[in-house]
Symmetry: C2
Subunit: 216 residues, 2 copies
Amino acid sequence: MSKDKIAVPVIRRLPRYYRFLGDLLENGVVRISSRELSAKMGLTASQIRQDLNCFGGFGQQGYGYPVQNLHEEIGRILGLNNHYNAILIGAGHLGTAVAVHMTLERKVFRLIGIFDRDRDKVGQRIGENCIDHIDTLEHFFCDHTVGTAILCVPKTAAPDLAERLYRLGVRSFWNFSHYDLAIHYPDIIVENVHLNDSLMILCYKIANCQHHIDSE
Amino acid sequence: MSKDKIAVPVIRRLPRYYRFLGDLLENGVVRISSRELSAKMGLTASQIRQDLNCFGGFGQQGYGYPVQNLHEEIGRILGLNNHYNAILIGAGHLGTAVAVHMTLERKVFRLIGIFDRDRDKVGQRIGENCIDHIDTLEHFFCDHTVGTAILCVPKTAAPDLAERLYRLGVRSFWNFSHYDLAIHYPDIIVENVHLNDSLMILCYKIANCQHHIDSE
């Protein structure tokens, strides 16, 4: 099956497979059966077989899946061999946490700039970057190619920033701002992180005693 | 249809409906058609009609949905009328961001304690709480009833903390730690926030030029 045809719920599960297979690799595991993988991941074995069938050619009845090949293939489907320059806007607690996280991970996205509107923060170092003032954003783009922007700003600050970044050519966003970018710019790529949505889902699970809604 | 039967993808979309309907309420909108709602939310009108049919009794052909009733009903399904005490472990940048967020939101979860292993942080104030040392965790539980723990600690610190919290009776977790709690404690409720998974999905979307995988 071509990768264009992979269903959305399967795509959403890919990072989880990638993480688990990475842990197995680190522990020297060479092959794993769908049954063992299911016990580790809290998915059913048949769900796992279905999911992994989407990528084709993996797993042989009775032999299990080759951990390294599968890990590499999922990484390839996720596009983890690519490299993009990213900037982060909003160096509050959340922005700083995200910047530190990206400095540690830096597999795909290289953070090359951090901006804030607070002049007191300008010059402070986070990982490999110093915070610049947001007024210097347009100037920064004269010298740098930036594909992705990470928005860690309040909802109220987001529309103006989104417009500036869009005009500067940014077309992909990791959006923590609670502002609905995708509605206003249909041609951009957005991945939203809504902490509040996650908290509401926790609330739903508690209120309804649902332990396993992630597995489905 | 009983709320127990609502499909998982619909549940995952509920917070989004709740947010959008809340925005509409604030703007004085009394009724909205599935077509208008679909334009705002980036879902198809038929998807929205299907989703909202799960809750029964809403929307009349040609009249649209009553915004306030629908907002209240979705809030009720999500369990947002409940109240739970929560504590947060790990007052780094991410933990601080989450604590501030919860202080602002505090609809369902009331943050009544923040713990860290760094003695230099003890006594520092975040919102309504002062940071306590993690060694005082068991003592804290003598005087407080805590249903939910928020783990903002590194993966390596999580197993020991999870065990302590589980023994203290905590059965629901908002988990930022990248440690797979649910596998080790099948009777707990966990909502995970995996920033790295989200970043991998962004990477997938860019690599595959997929703008709309959230809508499905």
